[in-house]
C-alpha cells in the first residue's frame, strides 16, 4: 500500500468545485493503493454515504470530513475521528445552515470549542484561515493558537499543498516554520478536486 493518504479531497457534491463522484474517487484511490481516503465536501457530508459504500467494496477506508465555511469567510477543513466527532460535525453543520440562507452556511468560531471533540482540524488551503492570514500579511500565529486551543495539539495539523506554482516555495517554507514553531505535525494534501486528469474539464 501507498504511504500517502489523501485527506482533503472534494467530491462533485461540492458544487462548482469538485468534479468527480465519491465512488470514482474511491476507485481511483484504491487503484493508487491508498489505504484510506477522506472527502471533505463544502458545508456538508453529502458524499460520505456513497464514498463509504464504494470504499468498502474496493477495500479502502473512508474518512468523513467537511469544509466549514466560517463567519469570516475562511474555510476550515475538519475530519471526523470518532462517532462523537461525527455527531459534533453534524450539529455544527446544522447550526451553520439554520442561521444562513439556503445554499449557504456560516459557522461561528465561538461554537467550535463546544463541538470540537472527535474532530481533527486542518489549517486548510488558500481559503483556510492560516494561509488567508499569511496572504493578508497578518500575523498567522494567533490563528494557530486559536485552533490549538479549540481542537488541541493532537487534533490540529498544518496543511501544506504544492501545486507547482511560482511563489509557492515561500508559502510552504512559512508553513513549515510555523509547524516547527508550534510543534504541530505538517500534513501534506493535494486539495483534490477531481480524480483523474480526464475529469478536469468538468471542474468548472
Amino acid at each position: 500500500l501507498s504511504d500517502y493518504i489523501e485527506l482533503h479531497a472534494r467530491s462533485a457534491f461540492s458544487f462548482l468545485r469538485g468534479a468527480s463522484a465519491p465512488e470514482y474517487l474511491a476507485e481511483v484511490a484504491a487503484k493508487l493503493e491508498m489505504p484510506a481516503l477522506a472527502v471533505c465536501d463544502r458545508d456538508g457530508v453529502y458524499g460520505a454515504p456513497r464514498l463509504f459504500g464504494r470504499a468498502k467494496d474496493v477495500g479502502i477506508r473512508s474518512i468523513v470530513g467537511a469544509e466549514l465555511t466560517m463567519e469570516d469567510n475562511t474555510v476550515l477543513p475538519v475530519l471526523v475521528e470518532s462517532r462523537r466527532g461525527y455527531q459534533n460535525l453534524c450539529r455544527l453543520l446544522s447550526r451553520a445552515h439554520l442561521r444562513s440562507e439556503k445554499g449557504k452556511a456560516s459557522t461561528r468560531w465561538d461554537e467550535l470549542p463546544e463541538f470540537a471533540e472527535g474532530l481533527v482540524a486542518l489549517t486548510g488551503d488558500e481559503e483556510g484561515p492560516l494561509v488567508s492570514a499569511i496572504s493578508q500579511r497578518k500575523n498567522p500565529m494567533p490563528v494557530i493558537e486559536e485552533l490549538v486551543r479549540m481542537f488541541g495539539k493532537d487534533c490540529c495539523f498544518i496543511e501544506i499543498q504544492r501545486h507547482h506554482l511560482r511563489g509557492e516555495d515561500r508559502l510552504c517554507r512559512t508553513l513549515a516554520q510555523l509547524a516547527e514553531r508550534f510543534h504541530l505535525p505538517l500534513l501534506a494534501t493535494n486539495g483534490v478536486l477531481y480524480a483523474t486528469e480526464l475529469d478536469r474539464p468538468e471542474n468548472c
Binding site: 488558500e126 493578508q136 507547482h164
Partner: protein, 741 residues
C-alpha cells in the same frame, strides 16, 4: 392652434428618399403584403403617364415602358417617420405621431399664436416654410396645414399646396345660435394670400360662398342663407377650404357618401350646411362624429411623444451587392441623412454602427467610435470607407443598416501637462489604415488581459478621452468591476468572474501572487527567444539560445500554469528559473501554445519536422501535460520530480530536433524520425547564425524563403520578402522569456 405635417404618398417617398434622382420620374410602388400585386402609390409623373393606383405592374408597364417599380419597405418607412418626428421636434416639443407620414404639432407656447393678424400669418408661413425646407433636405416633400383643432389641421394639410392656414371666422346661424354653434372657416392659400389680399381687401360675405348663401339650390331644411360677419381679426378670407374640400376627404361611410353624392353634395361646405340633426336622422349617428370633427370646439388631447433617440437608416437591396462601390454610394447618402438628422438636435455623431446582412443569412456588424465626434459627413464616410476596404464577406450583401449614436461636440479642458491630438479623426483613420495593413491585433494600445497566462495582452483601440473623462466614466456605476468583498486577501468579484478565477488555476495563484512579494525585476524578451534545452528528469541541463549557450548551473522549477482548457484556446506552460555559470538568471519556459510569430524571418527547414521521442512500453506519448490536484501522491522534495515524473521520463529530451553535432546529420534525421536513447551525453548543436531575435549572436542575415529548399510555407504573405511563420510551426518549444536583473 395646431399644425399638421402631412407627407403625401408617404410609402413611396420613404422608398425614394435615398434615390432622389427618381422622384421626378414615373415611379410606382407595390405592396408585397397584398395578395394581388397592384400599384398602391405613384408619382405625379407616373399619373401623367396614364397610370393609376390599383393597376397591376404589368398593366402599368404596358402604359409606360420605362416605368420604375419599387416595393414597399417598412424599415424605410420607419426611418422616414423617425426623420419626420425628429424634424418636427426641432420646431416644437409638443408633437404627436398621428399616423404614418402625419405629425401633429401644437403651437402653444411658440409665440406665434395670438390674435390673428397678418403678422402672425406671416410668421406661421415662414415657420412652415422652414419645416418644409428641412424636410426637403431629407428628400421628404410635405404639406402643412394650420387650424384650430388637430382634425381641421389635418384636413388643411391634405388640402395645402403646400401650406394652408385655416383661420376661424365668425359665422353664426341667428335662429340656431343657441342649439348649434356653427363655425365657419376661412382659409388662406399661402401661395395667393398676399396677392389676393391686395386685390380684395374686403371680400367676405358668407352668402357668396357656394356652400352657404351662394348656391342656387335651397338646402333641404329650408334654412335661410347664413350671413357672414366680417372677421374680427381683419384678415380677408380668400377661400374657404372647407367649402371646397371634396366630401371624400371627410372619411364618410361609403353608403352615406353615395347618398350625399346623389343629393348633389360634393363639398364639405355643402355637407355642413345640411345641418347635423337632419343628417343624423337620415344617414345615421355616424354623421355626428363627422360634424364634431369639423367643429372648432372638439379639441382632442394630443398624445405627445418624444422622437426616437435612435438614428438609423436601413435598406434592403433589390439586387445583391457584391462590390464596394454601390455600397459606398448608398452609405454616403445614409451618412448625410443621419448627420443632418442629428444636427437637428444640435448634436454630432459620436458612434456609427454598420450592419451588413448577407444573403447567406449571416450578418456583419461593426461599431465605429468617432474619436472626435463630428457632424462632417465626409469625415464619417472616410471612417467607413477605410474599414470597408478591408472587409471581405462570404456572401453578397442583401441588407444594409447604419445607425448613429449622437453625442456632444468635443469640448475638452486639458490640463497643463495633458496634450491632445490635433486631429483625432485623422489619427484614427491612419490607425485604421495601419490595421488594414498589419491586422487588428497589431495596432492599438496594449492592455493586459485578465488571465493567468503570463505576459498576455491585447491591443485595444486608443482611448481619445481626456483623463477627466476617463475618471468620470470609471466612476459611473457598472463601468468597472467592483469587488464585492475581500476574503483572505482574495478580492471576490462578481460570481462569474470569481468562478473563472477559481477554475482557471485551482484558486491557488490568487493567494500565492498576493502573499509572495515581488521578486527580482525581469526584463522580458518580446517575443520570447527560441531556445533548445536539454532536459533530464524535468531539470534543464543545457541551453542554447542567442543569449546563452552552455551548461545550466542551477534550476528552480518547474512551475506549471495552464488555462482556457475549457475552450479552444487552451494553453499550458512549464517555467524554470535557471542560473548560468556566470550567475545570470533567466526564465525559460516550455509551451505548447503558439507563443508568437516572426515577421520577415523564416526558420531552418530541418526544424520543421519535430523528432518523436520514442515512448517507453506502456506509455502513450512523450509529452505529459501537468496535472494538479489529482490523487497522485504529493512530495515535498525541492525539485518536485517525484510528483510528475513518469516511468520512462528519466532521460527525455523535449527538444524539437535531434540533439546531434552536425547540421547535415540534423537534416537527414529530420527526414526520418530518430529514436533518441541517450541524448544526455550528446552535445547541443550550435544555433545557426541569424536565428532568434536577441542581440549578439543573431545579428546575421536571415535566410530568405527562396534560399531554403524545404522551407515551411508561410501562413501569411506579409509583404515582399517577409513571411510570417508561427513559431510553434518552426519546431521551437523552449523559449527564453526574460533575464533577471
Amino acid at each position: 392652434m395646431f399644425a399638421v405635417i402631412h407627407i403625401p404618398r408617404f410609402s413611396l417617398q420613404s422608398v425614394l428618399r435615398h434615390e432622389p434622382e427618381l422622384i421626378p420620374k414615373p415611379v410606382v410602388l407595390t405592396d408585397p403584403a397584398l395578395t394581388k400585386p397592384c400599384i398602391t402609390q405613384l408619382t405625379p409623373t407616373a399619373r401623367a403617364c396614364g397610370i393609376c393606383a390599383g393597376m397591376t405592374p404589368s398593366q402599368a408597364m404596358a402604359r409606360f415602358g420605362n416605368l420604375v417599380v419599387k416595393t414597399r419597405s417598412l424599415p424605410q418607412e420607419q426611418a422616414a417617420m423617425e426623420t419626420l418626428m425628429q424634424t418636427a421636434y426641432a420646431f416644437s416639443p409638443h408633437i404627436e405621431p398621428t399616423a404614418p407620414g402625419v405629425c401633429t404639432i401644437e403651437l402653444k407656447g411658440l409665440g406665434m399664436v395670438g390674435r390673428a393678424s397678418p403678422r402672425a400669418t406671416q410668421l406661421l408661413q415662414q415657420w412652415a416654410a422652414e419645416i418644409l425646407r428641412v424636410l426637403k433636405q431629407f428628400h421628404l416633400y410635405g404639406q402643412i396645414g394650420f387650424a384650430e383643432t388637430p382634425a381641421l389641421a389635418l384636413l388643411a394639410a391634405h388640402a395645402a399646396e403646400p401650406i394652408l392656414i385655416a383661420e376661424q371666422g365668425k359665422a353664426r346661424c341667428p335662429h340656431r345660435a343657441a342649439q348649434d354653434d356653427k363655425t365657419v372657416f376661412v382659409a388662406q392659400s399661402s401661395l395667393q394670400s398676399q396677392r389676393d389680399c391686395a386685390l380684395h381687401p374686403r371680400v367676405g360675405e358668407l352668402a357668396s360662398l357656394p356652400w352657404a348663401g351662394g348656391r342656387t339650390t335651397p338646402n333641404p331644411e329650408g334654412v335661410p342663407p347664413l350671413t357672414l360677419n366680417t372677421p374680427a381679426h381683419g384678415i380677408t378670407p380668400q377661400n374657404d377650404f372647407i367649402s371646397t374640400l371634396p366630401i371624400e376627404a371627410l372619411d364618410l361611410p361609403f353608403e352615406s357618401l353615395e347618398i350625399l353624392k346623389r343629393w348633389g353634395i360634393n363639398t364639405a361646405g355643402a355637407f355642413l350646411a345640411l345641418g347635423k340633426d337632419q343628417l343624423a336622422e337620415r344617414l345615421g349617428p355616424a354623421i355626428v362624429e363627422i360634424f364634431a370633427r369639423l367643429s372648432s370646439h372638439s379639441l382632442r388631447p394630443l398624445k405627445i411623444a418624444s422622437p426616437p433617440e435612435t438614428f438609423s437608416e436601413e435598406v434592403e437591396f433589390e439586387n445583391e451587392i457584391e462590390t464596394l462601390e454601390p455600397l459606398l454610394f448608398i452609405l454616403r447618402r445614409f451618412i448625410e441623412q443621419l448627420s443632418r438628422r442629428i444636427e437637428l438636435l444640435y448634436l454630432v455623431v459620436a458612434e456609427l454602427c454598420l450592419k451588413l446582412g448577407l444573403t447567406s443569412g449571416a450578418t456583419y456588424e461593426r461599431t465605429f467610435t468617432i474619436p472626435s465626434p463630428t457632424g462632417n459627413a465626409e469625415t464619417l464616410f472616410r471612417v467607413l470607407h477605410t474599414h470597408l476596404e478591408t472587409v471581405r464577406t462570404d456572401a453578397p450583401i442583401a441588407t444594409l443598416r447604419l445607425s448613429a449614436k449622437p453625442g456632444r461636440s468635443e469640448s475638452h479642458q486639458f490640463g497643463l501637462f495633458e496634450t491632445t491630438l490635433r486631429n483625432p479623426n485623422q489619427f484614427a483613420e491612419t490607425l485604421a489604415r495601419l490595421t488594414a495593413l498589419c491586422g487588428s491585433d497589431r495596432v492599438g494600445t496594449p492592455v493586459v488581459e485578465e488571465t493567468y497566462r503570463p505576459d498576455t495582452f491585447q491591443m485595444k483601440p486608443p482611448d481619445f478621452r481626456t483623463r477627466a473623462e476617463r475618471e468620470r466614466s470609471a466612476r459611473r456605476p457598472g463601468s468597472q468591476r467592483v469587488p464585492v468583498c475581500k476574503e483572505g486577501g482574495i478580492q471576490r468579484y462578481a460570481p462569474a468572474v470569481s468562478q473563472r478565477l477559481r477554475v482557471g488555476t485551482s484558486r491557488a495563484p490568487v493567494t500565492v501572487s498576493k502573499c509572495v512579494p515581488r521578486g527580482l525585476p525581469m526584463r522580458r524578451f518580446r517575443p520570447p527567444l527560441p531556445a533548445r534545452v536539454e532536459i533530464c528528469q524535468h531539470r534543464p541541463l543545457r541551453m542554447r539560445s542567442t543569449v546563452f549557450n552552455g551548461v545550466i548551473a542551477d534550476v528552480r522549477g518547474p512551475f506549471f500554469s495552464s488555462g482556457n482548457w475549457w475552450e479552444n484556446n487552451r494553453w499550458w506552460r512549464e517555467e524554470w528559473d535557471i542560473q548560468t555559470a556566470d550567475g545570470t538568471l533567466y526564465r525559460i519556459f516550455r509551451a505548447a501554445e503558439e507563443v508568437g510569430e516572426t515577421v520577415g524571418r523564416v526558420s531552418c527547414p530541418e526544424r520543421a519536422a519535430p523528432v518523436r521521442v520514442a515512448p517507453r512500453a506502456g506509455e502513450a506519448g512523450s509529452q505529459v501535460a501537468p496535472v494538479r490536484a489529482t490523487l497522485a501522491p504529493l512530495s515535498l522534495t525541492p525539485c518536485f520530480s517525484e510528483v510528475h515524473e513518469r516511468p520512462g521520463d528519466n532521460i527525455n529530451c523535449f527538444n524539437s530536433f535531434p540533439v546531434d553535432s552536425e547540421s547535415p546529420q540534423r537534416s537527414r534525421m529530420s527526414a526520418a524520425p530518430v529514436t533518441v536513447s541517450n541524448q544526455f551525453e550528446r552535445c547541443v548543436p550550435p544555433l545557426p547564425k541569424g536565428e532568434g531575435w536577441g542581440e549578439g549572436e543573431g545579428t546575421g542575415r536571415y535566410p530568405h524563403a527562396s534560399e531554403l529548399t524545404n522551407c515551411i510555407q508561410p501562413s501569411t504573405v506579409h509583404g515582399e520578402g517577409e513571411e510570417r511563420v508561427p513559431l510553434h510551426r518552426c519546431g521551437f518549444e523552449f523559449f527564453v522569456e526574460g533575464v533577471y536583473d
